[in-house]
Structures are given as structure tokens and as C-alpha cells.
């Protein structure tokens, strides 16, 4: 039995509008002005390597930035600007309209409280449900996440269950109050490969069932392909490419996106006889304190020219956006251009 506590009347509105988000501390700027919008129920993937700013972006949406870090810009959600909200106001939102699933479930669960109590306390805090009702809803969530023996699980402690089960509990907790938006930061990276798929499948159906929008943060491109409808690729604190997943992954326009896709050792591109070589992006991710001038990717890019070394490219407007002075032409587009120059 499901009972949406929020009317899905605002289905056509955006659940999140991020404009010119900058995240910095006194010496470093980790997120250097990013914009994106997410429609209600939408699924966006945020891809990036360590230091790309993807996690700080998520934490700034949640109001959970580490000490010393500050967010500027605007983040519109549910009629308010999250950045201007007080800690208290944000705290009443977390778990209710916004929630987050972290990478390591063991460090996000309280080790000395029973699991059932931890999940039902979220429900009791944000709704007017009593103890019995909250427990009933918790059981329902455990069943939604296909957790074995939900009744016993209510009384278990986090150390008594497996990593995959713990992460399913975290997802259950995040979805408890039918949030408009759930942010999952590398939710399966700490799990065994064979459990990963099951957790993703459950996250997929549960998010759908609860009608939440999803931001999936990961460096794992196949996960984005499986879970999301749009993707934003971050590099050195900026979004360098964004658009529908299928278009971006089938015909990447930014050289970094293309490099990422080609350097993954998956069944897509390895010849399994062992004679193949993976394409790799040369060089390394630049440290925040010494970002190159111009396009931050230019030292690693084969298409870089003088302009890339001096001017920072901006995302062009539209559904398919690329921040690159020399974007890779889509096959169809290249054909059209060739046709134009021939005529």
C-alpha cells in the first residue's frame, strides 16, 4: 500500500534550478559557476573524477558543506533559495523534501541504535505519524527495498547486516518521506560488484515508485547510462558537457567526455584476447590551486589550440550543451557541414 503524501500537482515544474553555483573556501574555488535544472521526477547523472567538484556540488544543495566551505549563487528548490536558508530551515528539509544517500552506509548509520528505530525516527520527525504508524511505514519501506526478514531487521543493529543491506536501509531512509529530490553520491562504490546491480535496480524502482527526482553522482558511466535520462560531465569545477544521456554517450562533443568513454575497461571496448590497448587520457586532473588558464582540460586535450589556452569556453545554451572551442562534430552534423561546403 502506498500513500503519496505530496500531490504530484507540480509535476511539470522544476524540482531544482541551480544558477551560477560557486563553492569555495578561503583559498580554493572547487565549483566554478555551474547551472542546471532538474524537472520533477527527472533523473540526472553528475559525472566527474575526484576534485571535479561533484560531491561539493551535492553537499551545497543539502546545506552540508564541510567547515570552511561556502556556496554562492542560487539554488531554487520548492519555492525557496536553499543557499539563503538558515541551518534550521535546511535541517527541517533534509529527509523531507531533499535527501541524500552517501557512499559508505556504515559511517552514515548510527552504530548504537536499532535500524528500525533510525528509519522510523526520520518519519516521526517530518510527519505527524505516531510510533506505531512510523514503524508500519518503515516495514513497508524495507519490503519496498526487498530486504529479507523485515520484522527482524527492525531490531537489528547496523553491524549485523551486510553492506548491500545497509545501503538498502539508507535508501529506504532517504525515501521515507517521499522527497522531491534524492541525491545519491556513489551509492554502490563501496559495495561488492555482484550486489551493485541489485542495489541499483532497487534504487531505480523505489525512486520511481515514490516519484522523486534523482541526482546520481558517480564516475561510473555505465551506472549513469542505466539510471539517468540526462547527464552533466564535470571537470575541474565546471560542467563541460551536458544533455540527454544517449546523445552524450553515443556522440560525445567534449574531448574529455570522449576520453572518459574510451578509457573505461568494459565489455564495450575490450577485445578479450588481451592484445588490445585502452585509450587513455594523458596527464592528470589538475589540482585546484593551480588550474591551467583558459579551458582547464587543454593540457590533456589533443585538439587544444591557442584559444583554448587563453579563453575559458562557456556552455552554449540549448538541450545539448558543450563548453569547448573545438567540439567534436556529431556524425550527422559533420555530413551536413560537408554537404554545405561542397555545394
Amino acid at each position: 500500500m502506498t500513500k503519496p503524501q505530496q500531490d504530484r500537482a507540480q509535476d511539470r515544474t522544476n524540482v531544482l534550478e541551480v544558477a551560477n553555483l560557486v563553492v569555495h573556501n578561503t583559498t580554493l574555488t572547487a565549483v566554478r559557476g555551474i547551472d542546471f535544472t532538474l524537472p520533477a521526477g527527472g533523473r540526472m547523472g553528475l559525472v566527474g573524477e575526484s576534485g571535479s567538484g561533484k560531491t561539493l556540488t551535492a553537499l551545497s544543495l543539502m546545506g552540508l558543506l564541510p567547515m570552511g566551505w561556502q556556496a554562492n549563487g542560487s539554488v531554487r528548490h520548492d519555492g525557496v533559495d536553499l543557499i539563503a536558508q538558515s541551518d534550521k530551515a535546511l535541517s527541517s528539509r533534509r529527509g523531507r523534501t531533499l535527501s541524500m544517500v552517501f557512499q559508505d552506509p556504515l559511517s552514515s548509520l548510527d552504530p548504537v541504535r536499532r535500524i528500525g528505530q533510525q528509519v522510523s525516527s526520520v518519519i516521526r520527525r517530518h510527519t505527524d505519524a505516531g510510533k506505531k504508524e512510523a514503524e508500519r511505514q518503515t516495514l513497508e519501506l524495507f519490503r519496498l527495498m526487498s530486504l529479507p526478514r523485515p520484522e527482524q531487521l527492525m531490531r537489528a543493529y547496523p553491524h549485523e547486516i551486510s553492506g548491500g543491506q545497509r545501503q538498502r536501509v539508507m535508501i529506504a531512509m532517504a525515501l521515507a518521506c517521499y522527497p522531491q529530490l534524492i541525491i545519491a553520491d556513489e551509492p554502490t562504490t563501496a559495495l561488492d560488484v555482484t550486489v551493485q546491480k541489485q542495489v541499483l535496480r532497487l534504487l531505480n524502482t523505489a525512486v520511481q515508485e515514490r516519484g522523486s527526482a534523482l541526482i546520481m553522482i558517480t564516475h561510473d558511466l555505465p551506472i549513469i547510462a542505466a539510471m539517468c535520462d540526462t547527464v552533466a560531465v564535470m571537470y575541474a569545477g565546471k560542467i563541460v558537457e551536458m544533455g540527454p544521456v544517449a546523445e552524450v554517450f553515443r556522440s560525445p562533443r567534449h574531448h574529455y567526455t570522449k576520453g572518459l568513454l574510451e578509457s573505461q575497461p568494459t565489455m564495450d571496448n575490450i577485445a578479450l584476447d588481451g592484445s588490445s590497448r585502452l585509450a587513455s587520457i594523458p596527464g592528470m586532473v589538475p589540482p585546484l590551486h593551480s588550474l591551467p588558464k583558459g579551458c582547464a582540460f587543454h593540457p590533456r586535450c589533443s585538439a587544444a589550440t591557442e584559444r583554448c589556452r587563453t579563453e575559458i569556453p562557456q556552455l552554449e545554451p540549448g538541450a545539448r550543451r558543450t563548453a569547448c572551442w573545438h567540439p567534436i562534430a556529431a556524425p550527422a552534423e559533420a555530413a551536413i557541414q560537408a554537404g554545405v561546403s561542397a555545394s
Binding site: 560488484v193 555482484t194 561510473d220 555505465p222 575497461p265 578479450l272 590497448r277 585502452l278 592528470m284 586532473v285
Partner: protein
């Protein structure tokens, strides 16, 4: 379920463990009860031939780490034997042990924790030569190894914190190469690295096997990474090796349940875009 492909190889193994069983005793359940034992490895045989790259995959808890510890001599097996170059490493004299120790080197998962943060890279690289009491022109050896892994000499004066994870893993590989080993054992060498760096390190390992004629034992939980790097893969489950085969055979015709699970767990971009990745 065992599919043995090693009969086709004619060269004898360089490093081999034969019928190894490893048990740990657990704490007593009751005051007068016997101590229960946990069998982590159950009659496991595993080998690598000169110049060969072999892989070992399995879920966490399958016994990969214990196998690695026994293969590198960090742990002595309760039953069974470990042979290097045909000689039992636990049965010989000190000279045999030293020869084994310099010939089999390990690269760990996290380079940041395997390098001393207060030691300059140059000194870290010399450490294996010092502890293994290897004579010779150390400076020349350092430069040679730096070239092999593609690092500049400026790295020698710097400290680990000045490097990114990918560079540190190169340094860890360089350190493992210092005593001129014959076998390199890499335990999850890329899982802690950034995606764009993983391919660099995998290519480097592949090149080292080809150019230096090294034997490589590559241990990971991700079958696709192992398949890319090695030519023969063993699949572990619950303390046993349940299947051995060429990567292509494991992918296309997995026999053991553990192999089917690992193959089934692989997500690809294409399957994701087609909408059937999570089916």
C-alpha cells in the same frame, strides 16, 4: 565445474601454490567447547608461468586476500606448499628465502597508504634495495626504473602528498620493480584511482609484462579490468577456485555460478542506453 586450461602450457610454473588449505581458529563458543575453525582457503592450487599474466577474481570474502598473502610469503599455509622456481619457499635455507623475497614483489590497492608520507620518493624507491641488501649502482637502477614507469627524475626529491593517486601508483609500481623481480603481484591496483587514470595504469602493467618479460598476478573484484590485463583468469568463491579459463571463455561461456554472477554484474554503457542493464 573445474575447467583446467593450464595443461596446454608446457613451461613449468614460476610461482605456484599447490593444494593450499588455510584455516583460522575462532574464539570458543562455550567455555569447554572446542575452538571452531574457519576455512578460508580449501585445497587451492594456483600458478603463474614466466612472462604470463594471470588474473584472480572473486567477491569480497572469497579468499583473494588470503591467497595473495600466502603467494607472497606474508602468511604460512597450514597445509600445502608454495613453490618458487620449483623450490618450496618454506622448506629452504635463508638464501632461498631471500631469492624469493626479491623475485616476488607486490603492488597494493592504495598507494597513499603504502608509501611513507615522510619519506622522499627517492628514498622510498631505495628502501627495497636496502632491506633486501642488494648491492650495485643504486642511482642508475632508480633512473632506469623511473623511465620504465614513465616518471621524471624531479619526482625523486618530492614527497607523496605532492602527487596525485595515479602518479603515486606509478611510484608504487616503480618501487616494486626496484629489486628486478620476476613476478609482480598487483592487488586491486586501479580500484582506488580516477577513471581517466585507470587506463594509464592498466596499460603500464601490460607494457611491463610485455617489455620486461614479467609474470603478473592481477587480483581484482572487477572481471572486466582483469580480463583486459591478463590471459588466464581464476575465479574464486568461498575459499575455492571454481573456474579457470581464458577471459573470452569466461565472458561468453561462464560455467560456475560465481563466474556467472561476476559476468552478470558487469554493467556496460551500451546495455544501460538500451534500457536493459538492470534487468
Amino acid at each position: 565445474m573445474n575447467r583446467r586450461v593450464d595443461e596446454v602450457h608446457l613451461t613449468p610454473p614460476l610461482l605456484e601454490m599447490r593444494q593450499v588449505t588455510q584455516t583460522y581458529s575462532l574464539s570458543r563458543k562455550s567455555l569447554l567447547g572446542a575452538r571452531p575453525t574457519l576455512t578460508v582457503l580449501d585445497k587451492v592450487s594456483f600458478d603463474v608461468r614466466p612472462g604470463e599474466a594471470v588474473g584472480l577474481v572473486g567477491e569480497s570474502g572469497s579468499g583473494k586476500t588470503t591467497l595473495t598473502r600466502i603467494l607472497t610469503g606474508m602468511e604460512k599455509p597450514r597445509q600445502g606448499h608454495v613453490f618458487y622456481n620449483g623450490a618450496d619457499i618454506w622448506a629452504g635455507d635463508g638464501e632461498r628465502w631471500r631469492n624469493f623475497r626479491r623475485s616476488v614483489q607486490v603492488v597494493m590497492q592504495n598507494p597513499r597508504s603504502s608509501l611513507d608520507p615522510r619519506m622522499r620518493i627517492g628514498l622510498s624507491l631505495l628502501e627495497p634495495l636496502r632491506s633486501l641488501k642488494i648491492e650495485g649502482d643504486h642511482a642508475a637502477r632508480v633512473h632506469e626504473v623511473l623511465d620504465q614507469v614513465g616518471l621524471s627524475r624531479q619526482a625523486l626529491e618530492r614527497y607523496p602528498h605532492e602527487f596525485s593517486g595515479g602518479q603515486l601508483q606509478r611510484i608504487a609500481i616503480a618501487r616494486a620493480l626496484m629489486p628486478a623481480p620476476k613476478v609482480l603481484i598487483a592487488d586491486e591496483p586501479v580500484s582506488a584511482l580516477d577513471v581517466s587514470i585507470q587506463a594509464q595504469v592498466l596499460n603500464l602493467l601490460k607494457d611491463l609484462v610485455n617489455e620486461l618479460g614479467l609474470s603478473l598476478v592481477f587480483i581484482a573484484h572487477d572481471l572486466s579490468v582483469v580480463a583486459y590485463t591478463t590471459s588466464r583468469v581464476s575465479v574464486m568463491s568461498a575459499g575455492r577456485i571454481v573456474e579457470v579459463g581464458k577471459p573470452l571463455d569466461l565472458f561468453t561461456r561462464p560455467q560456475a555460478e560465481a563466474t556467472r554472477n561476476l559476468v552478470g554484474a558487469i554493467l556496460t554503457v551500451e546495455a544501460g542506453l538500451a534500457g536493459n542493464a538492470l534487468a
